[in-house]
Protein backbone atom coordinates (compact mmCIF):
# COMPACT_ATOMS: atom_id res chain seq x y z
CA UNK A 1 0.00 0.00 0.00
CA UNK A 2 2.79 2.32 0.96
CA UNK A 3 4.68 1.41 -2.18
CA UNK A 4 1.64 2.09 -4.31
CA UNK A 5 1.03 5.43 -2.68
CA UNK A 6 4.72 6.35 -2.91
CA UNK A 7 5.04 5.56 -6.57
CA UNK A 8 1.78 7.29 -7.42
CA UNK A 9 2.95 10.38 -5.57
CA UNK A 10 6.33 10.21 -7.32
CA UNK A 11 4.82 9.94 -10.79
CA UNK A 12 2.45 12.79 -10.13
CA UNK A 13 5.21 15.10 -8.91
CA UNK A 14 7.48 14.02 -11.78
CA UNK A 15 4.84 14.78 -14.41
CA UNK A 16 4.00 18.15 -12.85
CA UNK A 17 7.65 19.11 -12.50
CA UNK A 18 8.70 17.97 -15.95
CA UNK A 19 5.79 19.45 -17.88
CA UNK A 20 5.87 22.59 -15.77
CA UNK A 21 9.56 23.10 -16.51
CA UNK A 22 8.97 22.54 -20.23
CA UNK A 23 6.08 25.00 -20.30
CA UNK A 24 8.11 27.55 -18.36
CA UNK A 25 11.21 27.34 -20.55
CA UNK A 26 9.20 27.52 -23.78
CA UNK A 27 7.01 30.45 -22.83
CA UNK A 28 9.91 32.35 -21.32
CA UNK A 29 12.12 31.68 -24.32
CA UNK A 30 15.08 30.03 -22.64
CA UNK A 31 17.97 29.48 -25.02
CA UNK A 32 21.72 29.27 -24.57
CA UNK A 33 24.52 31.35 -26.05
CA UNK A 34 22.76 34.70 -25.90
CA UNK A 35 24.43 37.96 -26.87
CA UNK A 36 23.14 40.87 -24.79
CA UNK A 37 23.95 44.51 -25.51
CA UNK A 38 22.06 46.95 -23.30
CA UNK A 39 18.37 46.11 -23.54
CA UNK A 40 18.89 44.02 -26.69
CA UNK A 41 19.39 40.26 -26.75
CA UNK A 42 20.15 37.99 -29.69
CA UNK A 43 20.68 34.25 -29.95
CA UNK A 44 23.06 33.92 -32.89
CA UNK A 45 23.19 30.11 -32.75
CA UNK A 46 19.43 29.92 -33.20
CA UNK A 47 20.02 30.74 -36.88
CA UNK A 48 22.37 27.81 -37.43
CA UNK A 49 22.54 24.02 -37.12
CA UNK A 50 24.04 24.54 -33.64
CA UNK A 51 20.62 25.66 -32.38
CA UNK A 52 20.01 24.27 -28.88
CA UNK A 53 17.04 21.98 -28.09
CA UNK A 54 15.20 24.68 -26.15
CA UNK A 55 15.31 27.19 -29.00
CA UNK A 56 14.34 24.40 -31.40
CA UNK A 57 11.28 23.51 -29.34
CA UNK A 58 10.38 27.16 -28.84
CA UNK A 59 10.50 27.86 -32.59
CA UNK A 60 8.48 24.76 -33.40
CA UNK A 61 5.84 25.96 -30.97
CA UNK A 62 5.70 29.60 -32.11
CA UNK A 63 5.91 28.86 -35.85
CA UNK A 64 8.54 31.45 -36.68
CA UNK A 65 11.55 31.04 -38.97
CA UNK A 66 14.79 32.26 -37.37
CA UNK A 67 17.18 34.55 -39.26
CA UNK A 68 19.99 32.42 -40.70
CA UNK A 69 23.54 33.34 -39.69
CA UNK A 70 24.54 33.94 -43.32
CA UNK A 71 21.67 36.39 -43.65
CA UNK A 72 21.91 38.46 -40.47
CA UNK A 73 21.11 38.59 -36.80
CA UNK A 74 17.97 39.45 -34.83
CA UNK A 75 17.99 41.34 -31.52
CA UNK A 76 14.93 41.46 -29.26
CA UNK A 77 14.12 44.05 -26.58
CA UNK A 78 11.27 43.74 -24.08
CA UNK A 79 12.40 46.52 -21.74
CA UNK A 80 14.21 49.86 -21.77
CA UNK A 81 17.82 50.23 -20.60
CA UNK A 82 16.80 50.31 -16.94
CA UNK A 83 14.85 47.07 -17.25
CA UNK A 84 11.40 48.65 -17.23
CA UNK A 85 8.90 46.75 -19.39
CA UNK A 86 7.74 48.32 -22.65
CA UNK A 87 4.30 49.84 -22.26
CA UNK A 88 2.51 51.09 -25.38
CA UNK A 89 0.94 53.94 -23.43
CA UNK A 90 4.38 55.41 -22.69
CA UNK A 91 7.00 57.12 -24.84
CA UNK A 92 10.39 55.51 -25.36
CA UNK A 93 13.24 57.07 -27.30
CA UNK A 94 15.73 54.89 -29.18
CA UNK A 95 18.96 56.60 -30.18
CA UNK A 96 22.64 56.05 -30.66
CA UNK A 97 24.81 53.71 -32.65
CA UNK A 98 24.18 50.58 -34.63
CA UNK A 99 26.73 47.87 -35.39
CA UNK A 100 28.20 47.59 -38.88
CA UNK A 101 25.66 46.12 -41.26
CA UNK A 102 24.63 46.67 -44.85
CA UNK A 103 21.04 47.24 -43.81
CA UNK A 104 19.07 47.15 -40.61
CA UNK A 105 15.38 47.22 -39.79
CA UNK A 106 13.56 47.91 -36.54
CA UNK A 107 10.03 46.59 -36.06
CA UNK A 108 7.43 46.82 -33.31
CA UNK A 109 5.35 43.70 -32.51
CA UNK A 110 2.96 42.62 -29.81
CA UNK A 111 4.39 39.90 -27.52
CA UNK A 112 3.03 37.17 -29.83
CA UNK A 113 4.93 38.58 -32.82
CA UNK A 114 2.02 40.23 -34.63
CA UNK A 115 2.29 43.71 -36.11
CA UNK A 116 0.33 46.39 -34.28
CA UNK A 117 -2.44 48.29 -36.07
CA UNK A 118 -2.03 52.09 -36.14
CA UNK A 119 -3.33 55.12 -38.02
CA UNK A 120 -0.31 55.67 -40.28
CA UNK A 121 0.30 52.00 -41.05
CA UNK A 122 3.88 52.15 -39.85
CA UNK A 123 5.37 49.09 -38.18
CA UNK A 124 9.05 49.93 -38.28
CA UNK A 125 11.91 51.62 -40.06
CA UNK A 126 14.74 50.52 -42.33
CA UNK A 127 18.22 52.04 -42.19
CA UNK A 128 17.48 53.81 -45.50
CA UNK A 129 14.24 55.53 -44.61
CA UNK A 130 15.14 56.78 -41.14
CA UNK A 131 15.63 60.54 -40.76
CA UNK A 132 19.07 61.48 -39.47
CA UNK A 133 20.66 64.69 -38.23
CA UNK A 134 23.74 66.26 -39.85
CA UNK A 135 26.08 63.93 -37.96
CA UNK A 136 24.23 60.88 -39.24
CA UNK A 137 22.71 60.15 -35.85
CA UNK A 138 19.07 59.23 -35.48
CA UNK A 139 16.46 59.03 -32.77
CA UNK A 140 13.18 57.15 -32.91
CA UNK A 141 10.21 58.06 -30.73
CA UNK A 142 8.21 54.93 -29.87
CA UNK A 143 4.99 56.52 -28.68
CA UNK A 144 1.19 56.15 -28.77
CA UNK A 145 0.63 59.66 -30.17
CA UNK A 146 2.16 61.35 -33.21
CA UNK A 147 5.67 62.79 -32.88
CA UNK A 148 7.78 64.87 -35.25
CA UNK A 149 10.67 63.03 -36.86
CA UNK A 150 10.87 59.25 -36.65
CA UNK A 151 7.64 58.19 -34.99
CA UNK A 152 7.05 54.50 -34.40
CA UNK A 153 3.43 54.15 -33.19
CA UNK A 154 2.68 51.70 -30.38
CA UNK A 155 -1.05 51.63 -31.04
CA UNK A 156 -1.46 52.09 -27.29
CA UNK A 157 -1.14 48.35 -26.58
CA UNK A 158 -0.19 47.22 -23.11
CA UNK A 159 3.03 45.43 -23.98
CA UNK A 160 5.18 45.46 -27.07
CA UNK A 161 8.44 44.00 -28.32
CA UNK A 162 11.07 45.75 -30.42
CA UNK A 163 13.05 43.68 -32.90
CA UNK A 164 16.26 44.99 -34.43
CA UNK A 165 17.54 43.03 -37.41
CA UNK A 166 20.98 43.50 -38.93
CA UNK A 167 21.51 42.16 -42.43
CA UNK A 168 24.86 41.26 -43.93
CA UNK A 169 26.76 41.98 -40.75
CA UNK A 170 29.94 40.73 -39.06
CA UNK A 171 27.98 40.46 -35.79
CA UNK A 172 27.18 36.82 -35.16
CA UNK A 173 28.18 33.63 -33.42
CA UNK A 174 31.75 34.84 -32.87
CA UNK A 175 30.77 38.19 -31.34
CA UNK A 176 31.67 38.36 -27.66
CA UNK A 177 32.13 41.96 -26.64
CA UNK A 178 29.66 44.80 -26.72
CA UNK A 179 32.34 46.98 -28.32
CA UNK A 180 31.88 45.17 -31.62
CA UNK A 181 28.14 45.59 -31.47
CA UNK A 182 27.07 48.94 -30.05
CA UNK A 183 23.28 48.84 -29.97
CA UNK A 184 21.01 51.89 -29.62
CA UNK A 185 20.01 53.07 -26.16
CA UNK A 186 16.33 52.94 -25.11
CA UNK A 187 15.14 55.56 -22.62
CA UNK A 188 11.63 56.01 -21.21
CA UNK A 189 10.23 59.54 -21.43
CA UNK A 190 7.03 59.39 -19.43
CA UNK A 191 3.55 58.06 -20.00
CA UNK A 192 0.33 59.52 -21.35
Amino acid sequence: MRLLFGSFFTLLIAAALGLGATWFTLTRGVAFGSLTVGAWTAWPKTGSVDIDPYARASIARSGELPTGVGDGITFYAHTDDTGQNFDGRCTFVISGMTPAARYWTVTLYDPEGRLVANTIDRHGFTSDEILRDNDGRFSIAVAPLARPGNWLPTGGIEQFVLVWRLYDTPIGVATRTTKEGPMPAIVRKGCS
Partner: protein, 183 residues
Protein backbone atom coordinates in the same frame (compact mmCIF):
# COMPACT_ATOMS: atom_id res chain seq x y z
CA UNK B 1 10.99 10.46 6.67
CA UNK B 2 13.99 9.20 4.75
CA UNK B 3 11.70 7.07 2.67
CA UNK B 4 9.61 10.13 1.76
CA UNK B 5 12.74 12.02 0.78
CA UNK B 6 13.80 9.11 -1.43
CA UNK B 7 10.44 9.21 -3.17
CA UNK B 8 10.82 12.96 -3.64
CA UNK B 9 14.31 12.57 -5.06
CA UNK B 10 13.00 9.94 -7.48
CA UNK B 11 10.21 12.34 -8.45
CA UNK B 12 12.66 15.14 -9.20
CA UNK B 13 14.89 12.87 -11.29
CA UNK B 14 11.92 11.50 -13.18
CA UNK B 15 10.62 15.04 -13.62
CA UNK B 16 13.93 15.94 -15.25
CA UNK B 17 13.54 13.03 -17.65
CA UNK B 18 9.99 14.11 -18.48
CA UNK B 19 11.17 17.68 -19.06
CA UNK B 20 14.06 16.76 -21.34
CA UNK B 21 12.09 14.25 -23.36
CA UNK B 22 9.18 16.65 -23.91
CA UNK B 23 11.58 19.41 -25.03
CA UNK B 24 13.28 17.02 -27.46
CA UNK B 25 10.01 15.57 -28.74
CA UNK B 26 8.23 18.87 -29.24
CA UNK B 27 9.64 19.79 -32.69
CA UNK B 28 8.36 16.48 -34.07
CA UNK B 29 4.96 16.90 -32.45
CA UNK B 30 4.40 20.58 -33.28
CA UNK B 31 1.39 21.12 -35.54
CA UNK B 32 1.74 24.88 -35.95
CA UNK B 33 5.40 25.13 -36.94
CA UNK B 34 6.44 27.17 -39.97
CA UNK B 35 6.41 24.20 -42.36
CA UNK B 36 2.90 23.13 -41.34
CA UNK B 37 1.65 26.71 -41.72
CA UNK B 38 3.10 26.89 -45.24
CA UNK B 39 1.76 23.56 -46.52
CA UNK B 40 -1.69 24.90 -47.51
CA UNK B 41 -0.18 28.03 -49.12
CA UNK B 42 2.76 26.71 -51.07
CA UNK B 43 2.80 24.01 -53.74
CA UNK B 44 5.70 21.59 -53.46
CA UNK B 45 8.88 22.35 -55.47
CA UNK B 46 7.51 25.65 -56.78
CA UNK B 47 8.43 29.18 -55.77
CA UNK B 48 5.42 30.83 -54.15
CA UNK B 49 5.22 34.45 -52.97
CA UNK B 50 3.95 34.98 -49.43
CA UNK B 51 1.49 37.76 -48.60
CA UNK B 52 3.05 40.59 -46.57
CA UNK B 53 2.33 40.43 -42.83
CA UNK B 54 -0.41 42.77 -41.59
CA UNK B 55 -1.72 43.39 -38.05
CA UNK B 56 -4.74 41.18 -38.82
CA UNK B 57 -3.01 38.40 -40.63
CA UNK B 58 0.47 36.96 -40.82
CA UNK B 59 1.46 33.46 -41.78
CA UNK B 60 4.25 33.35 -39.24
CA UNK B 61 4.99 35.50 -36.18
CA UNK B 62 7.88 37.98 -36.24
CA UNK B 63 8.04 38.37 -40.04
CA UNK B 64 10.03 41.43 -41.15
CA UNK B 65 7.49 43.73 -42.90
CA UNK B 66 10.28 45.48 -44.83
CA UNK B 67 10.88 42.33 -46.88
CA UNK B 68 9.10 40.64 -49.74
CA UNK B 69 9.20 36.89 -49.16
CA UNK B 70 8.87 33.85 -51.39
CA UNK B 71 9.04 30.22 -50.32
CA UNK B 72 9.95 27.04 -52.13
CA UNK B 73 8.73 24.08 -50.09
CA UNK B 74 10.88 21.29 -51.39
CA UNK B 75 10.82 17.53 -51.55
CA UNK B 76 14.01 16.02 -52.95
CA UNK B 77 12.79 12.42 -53.32
CA UNK B 78 12.33 12.93 -57.09
CA UNK B 79 15.75 14.51 -57.72
CA UNK B 80 17.84 17.54 -56.82
CA UNK B 81 16.47 21.07 -56.79
CA UNK B 82 17.69 23.96 -58.92
CA UNK B 83 17.12 27.36 -57.42
CA UNK B 84 17.55 30.71 -59.18
CA UNK B 85 16.86 33.97 -57.38
CA UNK B 86 17.51 37.25 -59.21
CA UNK B 87 19.16 39.84 -57.00
CA UNK B 88 16.94 42.81 -56.17
CA UNK B 89 18.18 46.40 -56.02
CA UNK B 90 18.84 46.51 -52.30
CA UNK B 91 19.41 43.22 -50.55
CA UNK B 92 18.41 39.66 -51.24
CA UNK B 93 19.02 36.59 -49.13
CA UNK B 94 18.26 32.90 -49.44
CA UNK B 95 17.85 30.82 -46.28
CA UNK B 96 17.47 27.04 -46.16
CA UNK B 97 15.44 25.46 -43.37
CA UNK B 98 14.92 21.83 -42.44
CA UNK B 99 11.42 20.42 -42.01
CA UNK B 100 11.76 21.46 -38.33
CA UNK B 101 12.68 25.13 -39.01
CA UNK B 102 16.42 24.78 -38.39
CA UNK B 103 18.27 27.29 -40.60
CA UNK B 104 21.08 25.10 -41.94
CA UNK B 105 22.38 27.45 -44.61
CA UNK B 106 21.94 31.09 -45.59
CA UNK B 107 23.55 33.21 -48.27
CA UNK B 108 23.08 36.83 -49.35
CA UNK B 109 23.51 38.51 -52.71
CA UNK B 110 26.98 39.86 -51.90
CA UNK B 111 28.30 36.47 -50.83
CA UNK B 112 26.83 34.96 -53.98
CA UNK B 113 28.53 37.74 -55.96
CA UNK B 114 26.44 37.63 -59.13
CA UNK B 115 23.37 39.18 -60.62
CA UNK B 116 21.39 36.18 -59.52
CA UNK B 117 21.84 33.58 -56.80
CA UNK B 118 22.02 30.12 -58.36
CA UNK B 119 22.15 27.00 -56.24
CA UNK B 120 21.69 23.26 -56.46
CA UNK B 121 20.09 21.64 -53.47
CA UNK B 122 20.47 17.92 -52.97
CA UNK B 123 20.54 15.25 -50.32
CA UNK B 124 23.97 13.91 -49.26
CA UNK B 125 23.15 10.68 -51.17
CA UNK B 126 22.39 12.59 -54.38
CA UNK B 127 25.58 14.60 -53.95
CA UNK B 128 27.60 11.42 -53.58
CA UNK B 129 26.07 10.07 -56.80
CA UNK B 130 27.17 13.06 -58.88
CA UNK B 131 29.57 11.95 -61.66
CA UNK B 132 33.09 13.06 -60.81
CA UNK B 133 33.71 15.24 -63.86
CA UNK B 134 30.53 17.07 -63.02
CA UNK B 135 31.86 17.69 -59.57
CA UNK B 136 34.90 19.43 -61.05
CA UNK B 137 32.82 21.88 -63.00
CA UNK B 138 30.79 22.23 -59.82
CA UNK B 139 33.42 24.61 -58.50
CA UNK B 140 31.51 27.13 -60.54
CA UNK B 141 28.17 26.10 -59.15
CA UNK B 142 27.08 26.17 -55.58
CA UNK B 143 25.88 22.87 -54.18
CA UNK B 144 24.02 22.80 -50.90
CA UNK B 145 23.36 19.56 -49.06
CA UNK B 146 19.98 19.27 -47.39
CA UNK B 147 20.03 17.24 -44.17
CA UNK B 148 16.62 15.77 -45.01
CA UNK B 149 14.49 15.18 -48.09
CA UNK B 150 12.06 17.98 -47.29
CA UNK B 151 12.32 21.52 -46.01
CA UNK B 152 11.93 25.16 -46.98
CA UNK B 153 13.93 27.59 -49.09
CA UNK B 154 12.99 31.16 -48.18
CA UNK B 155 14.01 34.00 -50.51
CA UNK B 156 13.78 37.48 -49.02
CA UNK B 157 14.16 40.78 -50.87
CA UNK B 158 14.40 44.03 -48.95
CA UNK B 159 12.34 47.09 -49.80
CA UNK B 160 14.43 49.85 -48.18
CA UNK B 161 11.36 52.08 -48.25
CA UNK B 162 7.68 51.19 -48.75
CA UNK B 163 7.66 52.59 -52.31
CA UNK B 164 10.19 49.98 -53.37
CA UNK B 165 8.11 47.01 -52.18
CA UNK B 166 6.63 46.50 -55.66
CA UNK B 167 10.14 46.28 -57.14
CA UNK B 168 11.22 43.80 -54.46
CA UNK B 169 8.14 41.68 -55.13
CA UNK B 170 8.84 41.90 -58.84
CA UNK B 171 12.38 40.61 -58.35
CA UNK B 172 11.07 37.70 -56.31
CA UNK B 173 8.43 36.90 -58.92
CA UNK B 174 11.30 35.91 -61.21
CA UNK B 175 12.77 33.51 -58.65
CA UNK B 176 12.30 29.86 -59.53
CA UNK B 177 12.90 26.46 -58.06
CA UNK B 178 12.48 23.22 -59.97
CA UNK B 179 13.34 19.56 -59.61
CA UNK B 180 16.10 18.22 -61.86
CA UNK B 181 15.08 14.63 -62.54
CA UNK B 182 17.75 11.99 -62.01
CA UNK B 183 19.22 10.91 -65.36
Amino acid sequence: MIRALMWLLAAILLGGVVHLSTVLALPQAAKQDAYSRLVPLTPVNTMAPLPAPTPDKAIMPFMDPAFATAVCRYDLTGGSLKLIAPVSQAYTSVTFYTRNSVAYYAINDRAAGRRSIELDLMTPAQHAQLPEEEDVTAADRLIIESPGASGLVVVRALAPEPGLMAAARGALARATCSIQPVQ
